[in-house]
Protein backbone atom coordinates (compact mmCIF):
# COMPACT_ATOMS: atom_id res chain seq x y z
CA UNK A 1 0.00 0.00 0.00
CA UNK A 2 1.34 3.38 -0.95
CA UNK A 3 0.92 6.43 1.19
CA UNK A 4 1.07 9.75 -0.55
CA UNK A 5 0.14 13.12 0.98
CA UNK A 6 0.33 13.69 4.69
CA UNK A 7 -0.49 16.65 6.90
CA UNK A 8 -0.26 17.26 10.63
CA UNK A 9 -2.52 19.48 12.71
CA UNK A 10 -2.49 20.48 16.36
CA UNK A 11 -5.60 19.46 18.28
CA UNK A 12 -5.31 21.46 21.47
CA UNK A 13 -8.28 23.77 21.79
CA UNK A 14 -11.79 24.43 20.56
CA UNK A 15 -10.80 26.30 17.43
CA UNK A 16 -8.64 23.37 16.43
CA UNK A 17 -11.74 21.15 16.35
CA UNK A 18 -13.24 23.47 13.74
CA UNK A 19 -9.98 23.41 11.79
CA UNK A 20 -9.95 19.63 11.90
CA UNK A 21 -13.42 19.53 10.37
CA UNK A 22 -12.45 21.96 7.65
CA UNK A 23 -9.19 20.26 6.74
CA UNK A 24 -10.72 16.78 6.72
CA UNK A 25 -13.54 18.09 4.55
CA UNK A 26 -11.20 19.60 1.98
CA UNK A 27 -9.12 16.41 1.89
CA UNK A 28 -12.24 14.36 1.26
CA UNK A 29 -13.43 16.70 -1.47
CA UNK A 30 -10.04 16.41 -3.15
CA UNK A 31 -10.34 12.63 -3.04
CA UNK A 32 -13.81 12.76 -4.51
CA UNK A 33 -15.58 11.15 -1.57
CA UNK A 34 -19.37 11.12 -1.82
CA UNK A 35 -21.38 13.52 0.32
CA UNK A 36 -22.64 10.96 2.81
CA UNK A 37 -19.22 9.36 3.31
CA UNK A 38 -17.67 12.80 3.66
CA UNK A 39 -20.19 13.83 6.29
CA UNK A 40 -19.58 10.63 8.21
CA UNK A 41 -15.81 10.92 8.39
CA UNK A 42 -15.85 14.65 9.17
CA UNK A 43 -18.33 13.98 11.97
CA UNK A 44 -16.19 11.12 13.27
CA UNK A 45 -13.12 13.37 13.16
CA UNK A 46 -14.99 16.04 15.09
CA UNK A 47 -15.96 13.54 17.79
CA UNK A 48 -12.46 12.21 18.25
CA UNK A 49 -10.88 15.65 18.05
CA UNK A 50 -13.15 16.81 20.82
CA UNK A 51 -12.19 13.81 22.96
CA UNK A 52 -8.55 14.62 22.34
CA UNK A 53 -9.07 18.21 23.49
CA UNK A 54 -11.44 17.57 26.38
CA UNK A 55 -10.05 14.34 27.82
CA UNK A 56 -6.65 13.87 26.26
CA UNK A 57 -5.18 17.18 27.30
CA UNK A 58 -4.62 18.09 23.68
CA UNK A 59 -2.71 16.26 20.98
CA UNK A 60 -2.16 16.00 17.25
CA UNK A 61 -3.90 14.78 14.13
CA UNK A 62 -1.98 13.22 11.28
CA UNK A 63 -3.81 12.90 7.97
CA UNK A 64 -2.58 10.41 5.38
CA UNK A 65 -3.80 9.84 1.89
CA UNK A 66 -3.89 6.15 1.00
CA UNK A 67 -3.79 4.51 -2.39
CA UNK A 68 -3.70 0.82 -3.17
CA UNK A 69 -4.23 0.44 -6.87
CA UNK A 70 -7.98 0.33 -6.84
CA UNK A 71 -9.01 2.49 -3.97
CA UNK A 72 -8.13 5.84 -2.53
CA UNK A 73 -8.70 6.67 1.10
CA UNK A 74 -7.86 8.92 3.99
CA UNK A 75 -6.53 7.85 7.34
CA UNK A 76 -6.76 10.11 10.39
CA UNK A 77 -4.54 9.36 13.36
CA UNK A 78 -5.26 11.22 16.59
CA UNK A 79 -2.68 11.00 19.34
CA UNK A 80 -2.44 12.48 22.80
CA UNK A 81 -0.36 12.01 25.95
CA UNK A 82 -3.34 12.27 28.24
CA UNK A 83 -4.62 10.10 31.06
CA UNK A 84 -5.68 7.36 28.66
CA UNK A 85 -8.80 5.22 28.71
CA UNK A 86 -8.90 2.56 31.39
CA UNK A 87 -11.68 0.45 29.95
CA UNK A 88 -11.71 0.58 26.17
CA UNK A 89 -14.48 -1.98 25.80
CA UNK A 90 -16.78 0.16 27.85
CA UNK A 91 -15.78 3.29 25.96
CA UNK A 92 -16.73 1.57 22.73
CA UNK A 93 -20.16 0.65 23.99
CA UNK A 94 -22.94 3.05 23.16
CA UNK A 95 -24.06 5.38 25.87
CA UNK A 96 -20.80 5.61 27.76
CA UNK A 97 -19.53 8.99 28.79
CA UNK A 98 -17.32 10.47 31.43
CA UNK A 99 -18.63 13.96 30.84
CA UNK A 100 -22.00 15.52 31.51
CA UNK A 101 -24.88 15.31 29.12
CA UNK A 102 -25.71 12.47 26.81
CA UNK A 103 -22.54 10.59 26.17
CA UNK A 104 -22.35 8.57 23.04
CA UNK A 105 -19.23 6.57 23.48
CA UNK A 106 -16.95 5.73 20.63
CA UNK A 107 -19.16 2.94 19.35
CA UNK A 108 -21.21 5.31 17.27
CA UNK A 109 -18.11 6.92 15.84
CA UNK A 110 -16.78 3.50 14.89
CA UNK A 111 -19.87 2.83 12.80
CA UNK A 112 -19.18 5.92 10.73
CA UNK A 113 -15.84 4.75 9.37
CA UNK A 114 -14.44 1.78 7.44
CA UNK A 115 -11.52 1.07 9.74
CA UNK A 116 -11.23 1.99 13.41
CA UNK A 117 -8.26 1.31 15.60
CA UNK A 118 -7.78 2.45 19.18
CA UNK A 119 -4.99 1.88 21.65
CA UNK A 120 -4.72 3.51 25.02
CA UNK A 121 -2.56 3.14 28.11
CA UNK A 122 -3.67 4.80 31.35
CA UNK A 123 -1.18 7.46 32.33
CA UNK A 124 0.54 7.38 28.96
CA UNK A 125 -1.87 8.39 26.25
CA UNK A 126 -4.30 7.41 23.55
CA UNK A 127 -4.11 6.81 19.83
CA UNK A 128 -7.14 6.53 17.57
CA UNK A 129 -6.85 5.81 13.87
CA UNK A 130 -9.83 5.97 11.53
CA UNK A 131 -9.92 5.30 7.81
CA UNK A 132 -12.46 5.95 5.08
CA UNK A 133 -12.12 4.48 1.61
CA UNK A 134 -13.48 5.42 -1.73
CA UNK A 135 -13.61 2.93 -4.55
CA UNK A 136 -11.98 4.45 -7.64
Amino acid sequence: MLTARTEQLPVREQHDIVSVRQVVRSWCLALGLGLVDLTKIVTAASEIARNTVDYGGGGTLMLEELRDGLRVGVRLVFEDQGPGIADIERALADGYSTGTGMGLGLGGTRRLVDEFDISSTPGVGTRVAITKWKMR
Partner: protein
Protein backbone atom coordinates in the same frame (compact mmCIF):
# COMPACT_ATOMS: atom_id res chain seq x y z
CA UNK B 1 17.82 -12.92 -4.14
CA UNK B 2 21.45 -13.63 -4.69
CA UNK B 3 23.19 -10.37 -5.46
CA UNK B 4 25.13 -11.87 -8.30
CA UNK B 5 21.97 -12.80 -10.15
CA UNK B 6 20.50 -9.39 -9.57
CA UNK B 7 23.61 -7.70 -10.89
CA UNK B 8 23.70 -9.87 -13.99
CA UNK B 9 20.03 -9.06 -14.62
CA UNK B 10 20.75 -5.37 -14.28
CA UNK B 11 23.70 -5.65 -16.66
CA UNK B 12 21.65 -7.51 -19.22
CA UNK B 13 18.80 -5.02 -19.04
CA UNK B 14 21.26 -2.16 -19.44
CA UNK B 15 23.23 -3.60 -22.33
CA UNK B 16 20.41 -5.16 -24.30
CA UNK B 17 17.57 -2.76 -23.43
CA UNK B 18 16.56 -2.02 -27.01
CA UNK B 19 16.60 -5.66 -28.07
CA UNK B 20 14.59 -6.70 -25.04
CA UNK B 21 12.04 -4.01 -25.65
CA UNK B 22 11.70 -4.73 -29.34
CA UNK B 23 11.24 -8.48 -28.92
CA UNK B 24 8.94 -8.13 -25.98
CA UNK B 25 6.65 -5.78 -27.86
CA UNK B 26 6.70 -7.91 -30.97
CA UNK B 27 5.76 -11.04 -29.03
CA UNK B 28 2.83 -9.29 -27.42
CA UNK B 29 1.50 -7.82 -30.62
CA UNK B 30 1.64 -11.27 -32.17
CA UNK B 31 -0.30 -12.78 -29.29
CA UNK B 32 -2.99 -10.11 -29.02
CA UNK B 33 -5.86 -9.59 -31.40
CA UNK B 34 -5.49 -6.82 -33.93
CA UNK B 35 -6.12 -3.32 -32.71
CA UNK B 36 -6.55 -4.28 -29.08
CA UNK B 37 -3.83 -1.92 -28.08
CA UNK B 38 -1.85 0.71 -29.92
CA UNK B 39 1.80 -0.15 -30.44
CA UNK B 40 2.82 3.21 -29.12
CA UNK B 41 0.96 2.76 -25.85
CA UNK B 42 2.50 -0.67 -25.49
CA UNK B 43 5.97 0.73 -26.09
CA UNK B 44 5.48 3.35 -23.40
CA UNK B 45 4.21 0.78 -20.88
CA UNK B 46 6.93 -1.76 -21.59
CA UNK B 47 9.67 0.84 -21.40
CA UNK B 48 8.40 2.09 -18.09
CA UNK B 49 8.13 -1.38 -16.57
CA UNK B 50 11.63 -2.36 -17.65
CA UNK B 51 13.00 0.82 -16.12
CA UNK B 52 11.10 0.29 -12.89
CA UNK B 53 12.29 -3.31 -12.63
CA UNK B 54 15.85 -2.16 -13.21
CA UNK B 55 15.54 0.55 -10.59
CA UNK B 56 14.19 -1.86 -8.00
CA UNK B 57 16.98 -4.35 -8.72
CA UNK B 58 19.61 -1.61 -8.45
CA UNK B 59 18.32 -0.57 -5.04
CA UNK B 60 19.27 -4.01 -3.79
CA UNK B 61 15.82 -4.83 -2.53
CA UNK B 62 14.82 -8.42 -1.83
CA UNK B 63 12.55 -10.16 -4.29
CA UNK B 64 9.46 -9.37 -2.28
CA UNK B 65 6.86 -7.30 -4.07
CA UNK B 66 5.61 -5.87 -0.80
CA UNK B 67 8.92 -4.08 -0.30
CA UNK B 68 8.98 -0.34 -0.81
CA UNK B 69 11.43 -0.57 -3.70
CA UNK B 70 8.90 -2.44 -5.82
CA UNK B 71 6.06 -0.01 -5.22
CA UNK B 72 6.67 1.81 -8.48
CA UNK B 73 6.46 -1.36 -10.53
CA UNK B 74 3.43 -2.56 -8.57
CA UNK B 75 1.60 0.69 -9.07
CA UNK B 76 2.33 0.75 -12.80
CA UNK B 77 1.09 -2.81 -13.21
CA UNK B 78 -2.00 -2.01 -11.17
CA UNK B 79 -2.83 0.91 -13.42
CA UNK B 80 -2.23 -1.10 -16.57
CA UNK B 81 -4.28 -3.98 -15.23
CA UNK B 82 -7.21 -1.76 -14.31
CA UNK B 83 -7.19 -0.17 -17.73
CA UNK B 84 -6.98 -3.54 -19.48
CA UNK B 85 -9.90 -4.79 -17.40
CA UNK B 86 -11.97 -1.80 -18.33
CA UNK B 87 -11.12 -2.26 -21.99
CA UNK B 88 -12.38 -5.84 -21.91
CA UNK B 89 -9.11 -7.76 -22.01
CA UNK B 90 -9.25 -11.31 -20.64
CA UNK B 91 -7.24 -12.14 -17.51
CA UNK B 92 -4.78 -14.15 -19.61
CA UNK B 93 -4.28 -11.36 -22.09
CA UNK B 94 -3.56 -9.01 -19.20
CA UNK B 95 -1.08 -11.35 -17.51
CA UNK B 96 0.58 -11.87 -20.89
CA UNK B 97 1.90 -8.35 -20.60
CA UNK B 98 4.35 -9.50 -17.95
CA UNK B 99 4.76 -13.16 -18.87
CA UNK B 100 5.72 -12.41 -22.45
CA UNK B 101 8.87 -10.73 -21.16
CA UNK B 102 10.23 -14.15 -20.21
CA UNK B 103 11.23 -15.35 -23.66
CA UNK B 104 13.18 -12.23 -24.70
CA UNK B 105 14.76 -11.96 -21.24
CA UNK B 106 15.84 -15.59 -21.13
CA UNK B 107 17.11 -15.13 -24.65
CA UNK B 108 19.49 -12.30 -23.81
CA UNK B 109 20.50 -13.97 -20.53
CA UNK B 110 21.50 -16.99 -22.54
CA UNK B 111 23.56 -15.09 -25.09
CA UNK B 112 25.26 -12.94 -22.46
CA UNK B 113 25.87 -15.79 -20.04
CA UNK B 114 29.38 -16.94 -19.07
CA UNK B 115 28.59 -20.29 -17.45
CA UNK B 116 25.74 -22.76 -17.13
CA UNK B 117 25.35 -22.52 -13.34
CA UNK B 118 25.00 -18.78 -13.23
CA UNK B 119 22.65 -18.95 -16.22
CA UNK B 120 20.44 -21.38 -14.33
CA UNK B 121 20.43 -19.07 -11.30
CA UNK B 122 19.61 -16.03 -13.39
CA UNK B 123 16.77 -17.73 -15.21
CA UNK B 124 15.35 -18.92 -11.90
CA UNK B 125 15.59 -15.43 -10.39
CA UNK B 126 14.01 -13.87 -13.45
CA UNK B 127 11.21 -16.47 -13.37
CA UNK B 128 10.45 -15.80 -9.72
CA UNK B 129 10.34 -12.08 -10.36
CA UNK B 130 8.14 -12.18 -13.44
CA UNK B 131 5.77 -14.73 -11.92
CA UNK B 132 5.19 -12.50 -8.91
CA UNK B 133 4.62 -9.48 -11.09
CA UNK B 134 2.20 -11.44 -13.26
CA UNK B 135 0.26 -12.70 -10.23
CA UNK B 136 0.01 -9.18 -8.90
CA UNK B 137 -1.33 -8.05 -12.26
CA UNK B 138 -3.96 -10.79 -12.19
CA UNK B 139 -5.03 -9.96 -8.63
CA UNK B 140 -5.57 -6.33 -9.50
CA UNK B 141 -7.38 -7.31 -12.69
CA UNK B 142 -9.85 -9.44 -10.78
CA UNK B 143 -10.53 -6.71 -8.27
CA UNK B 144 -11.01 -4.20 -11.06
CA UNK B 145 -13.55 -6.44 -12.81
CA UNK B 146 -15.40 -6.89 -9.54
CA UNK B 147 -15.55 -3.18 -9.08
CA UNK B 148 -16.80 -2.63 -12.62
CA UNK B 149 -19.52 -5.18 -12.07
CA UNK B 150 -20.63 -3.67 -8.79
CA UNK B 151 -20.68 -0.21 -10.37
CA UNK B 152 -22.96 -1.51 -13.07
CA UNK B 153 -25.11 -3.12 -10.41
CA UNK B 154 -25.26 0.21 -8.65
CA UNK B 155 -26.52 1.91 -11.79
CA UNK B 156 -29.15 -0.75 -12.18
CA UNK B 157 -30.12 -0.27 -8.57
CA UNK B 158 -30.71 3.40 -9.01
CA UNK B 159 -32.82 2.72 -12.06
CA UNK B 160 -34.87 0.09 -10.28
CA UNK B 161 -35.75 2.12 -7.21
CA UNK B 162 -37.63 5.11 -8.52
CA UNK B 163 -39.15 7.53 -6.07
CA UNK B 164 -42.67 8.37 -7.13
CA UNK B 165 -44.76 11.35 -6.13
CA UNK B 166 -48.25 10.14 -5.29
CA UNK B 167 -49.59 13.50 -4.26
CA UNK B 168 -48.34 16.88 -3.13
CA UNK B 169 -46.39 16.02 -0.07
CA UNK B 170 -46.58 12.24 -0.46
CA UNK B 171 -43.79 10.17 -1.95
CA UNK B 172 -43.78 6.44 -2.57
CA UNK B 173 -40.82 4.14 -3.02
CA UNK B 174 -41.91 0.78 -4.44
CA UNK B 175 -39.06 -1.62 -3.83
CA UNK B 176 -38.67 -4.67 -5.99
CA UNK B 177 -36.32 -7.57 -5.50
CA UNK B 178 -33.95 -8.42 -2.70
CA UNK B 179 -32.59 -5.63 -0.60
CA UNK B 180 -28.92 -5.97 0.11
CA UNK B 181 -26.84 -3.62 2.15
CA UNK B 182 -25.51 -1.41 -0.61
CA UNK B 183 -28.84 -1.24 -2.39
CA UNK B 184 -30.65 -0.16 0.72
CA UNK B 185 -28.10 2.58 1.26
CA UNK B 186 -28.63 3.91 -2.24
CA UNK B 187 -32.35 3.74 -1.64
CA UNK B 188 -32.05 5.59 1.62
CA UNK B 189 -29.99 8.41 0.18
CA UNK B 190 -32.18 8.79 -2.88
CA UNK B 191 -35.37 8.86 -0.87
CA UNK B 192 -34.13 11.39 1.67
CA UNK B 193 -32.83 13.62 -1.10
CA UNK B 194 -36.20 13.53 -2.86
CA UNK B 195 -38.00 14.28 0.38
CA UNK B 196 -36.00 17.47 0.72
CA UNK B 197 -36.34 18.42 -2.95
CA UNK B 198 -40.11 17.97 -3.01
CA UNK B 199 -40.78 19.10 0.54
CA UNK B 200 -42.80 15.94 1.11
CA UNK B 201 -44.15 15.29 4.57
CA UNK B 202 -44.81 11.59 4.06
CA UNK B 203 -42.84 8.84 2.35
CA UNK B 204 -44.25 5.37 1.82
CA UNK B 205 -41.77 2.52 1.58
CA UNK B 206 -43.58 -0.29 -0.15
CA UNK B 207 -41.95 -3.68 0.14
CA UNK B 208 -44.63 -5.76 -1.61
CA UNK B 209 -42.05 -6.78 -4.21
CA UNK B 210 -39.43 -7.81 -1.67
CA UNK B 211 -39.40 -11.58 -1.19
CA UNK B 212 -37.40 -11.82 2.02
CA UNK B 213 -36.19 -9.50 4.70
CA UNK B 214 -33.30 -10.34 6.99
CA UNK B 215 -32.17 -8.59 10.13
CA UNK B 216 -29.73 -6.34 8.33
CA UNK B 217 -32.33 -5.26 5.79
CA UNK B 218 -34.89 -4.60 8.50
CA UNK B 219 -32.33 -2.50 10.34
CA UNK B 220 -31.59 -0.53 7.20
CA UNK B 221 -35.27 0.14 6.66
CA UNK B 222 -35.55 1.31 10.24
CA UNK B 223 -32.56 3.59 9.77
CA UNK B 224 -34.23 5.12 6.73
CA UNK B 225 -37.40 5.77 8.71
CA UNK B 226 -35.43 7.26 11.60
CA UNK B 227 -33.42 9.50 9.31
CA UNK B 228 -36.56 10.77 7.58
CA UNK B 229 -38.13 11.46 10.94
CA UNK B 230 -35.03 13.37 12.06
CA UNK B 231 -35.45 15.55 9.02
CA UNK B 232 -39.10 16.19 9.79
CA UNK B 233 -40.89 13.76 7.51
CA UNK B 234 -42.90 10.64 8.30
CA UNK B 235 -42.33 7.23 6.84
CA UNK B 236 -44.88 4.48 6.47
CA UNK B 237 -43.85 0.97 5.55
CA UNK B 238 -46.41 -0.86 3.47
CA UNK B 239 -46.74 -4.14 1.65
CA UNK B 240 -45.58 -6.34 4.47
CA UNK B 241 -46.56 -9.84 3.52
CA UNK B 242 -47.45 -12.38 6.21
CA UNK B 243 -44.18 -14.27 5.80
CA UNK B 244 -42.18 -11.10 6.23
CA UNK B 245 -44.23 -10.11 9.25
CA UNK B 246 -43.45 -13.49 10.79
CA UNK B 247 -39.77 -13.15 9.95
CA UNK B 248 -39.61 -9.73 11.56
CA UNK B 249 -41.20 -10.99 14.77
CA UNK B 250 -39.09 -14.13 14.71
CA UNK B 251 -35.86 -12.12 14.31
CA UNK B 252 -36.88 -9.98 17.23
CA UNK B 253 -36.62 -6.79 15.24
CA UNK B 254 -38.27 -3.98 17.13
CA UNK B 255 -40.19 -1.76 14.76
CA UNK B 256 -40.75 0.70 17.58
CA UNK B 257 -43.36 3.21 16.59
CA UNK B 258 -42.86 2.85 12.87
CA UNK B 259 -46.23 2.76 11.17
CA UNK B 260 -46.86 -0.23 8.98
CA UNK B 261 -49.74 -0.92 6.63
CA UNK B 262 -50.60 -4.05 4.72
CA UNK B 263 -51.11 -2.33 1.39
CA UNK B 264 -49.85 0.71 -0.43
CA UNK B 265 -53.46 1.86 -0.71
CA UNK B 266 -53.91 1.84 3.05
CA UNK B 267 -50.65 3.70 3.46
CA UNK B 268 -51.74 6.29 0.93
CA UNK B 269 -55.05 6.82 2.73
CA UNK B 270 -53.20 7.32 5.97
CA UNK B 271 -50.76 9.73 4.36
CA UNK B 272 -53.62 11.81 2.99
CA UNK B 273 -55.38 11.98 6.31
CA UNK B 274 -52.10 13.04 7.92
CA UNK B 275 -52.06 15.95 5.54
CA UNK B 276 -55.64 16.77 6.38
CA UNK B 277 -56.94 15.62 3.01
CA UNK B 278 -59.80 13.33 2.04
CA UNK B 279 -60.94 11.85 -1.24
CA UNK B 280 -64.49 12.84 -2.22
CA UNK B 281 -66.74 11.55 -4.94
CA UNK B 282 -67.72 14.14 -7.53
CA UNK B 283 -71.25 15.47 -7.29
CA UNK B 284 -73.51 13.61 -9.69
CA UNK B 285 -75.62 15.68 -12.17
CA UNK B 286 -79.17 16.40 -10.80
CA UNK B 287 -80.99 14.28 -13.42
CA UNK B 288 -79.09 11.15 -12.55
CA UNK B 289 -79.89 8.40 -10.06
CA UNK B 290 -80.19 9.04 -6.31
CA UNK B 291 -77.49 11.38 -5.30
CA UNK B 292 -75.22 10.00 -2.70
CA UNK B 293 -71.85 11.56 -2.19
CA UNK B 294 -69.99 9.50 0.29
CA UNK B 295 -66.49 10.60 1.02
CA UNK B 296 -64.05 7.77 0.58
CA UNK B 297 -62.14 7.08 3.78
Amino acid sequence: MPEASANRLIAVIDERFDDLLRNWIADQLAALRRGQIAENDLRVQCTELLQLIRRALVSGAPLDLEAQAWSGARDLLARISVSRAQQGFTPSETATFVLSLKRPLFGVLHTESKDADSLADDIWTATLLLDQLALHTTEVYIRARQELISRQQQDMLELSTPVVKLWDGVLALPMIGTLDSSRTQVVMETLLQRIVETGSDVAILDITGVPTVDTLTAQHLLKTVTAARLMGAECIISGIRPQIAQTIVHLGVDLGDVITKATLADAFKLALSRLGLTVARQRVAPSAAPASAPTAD
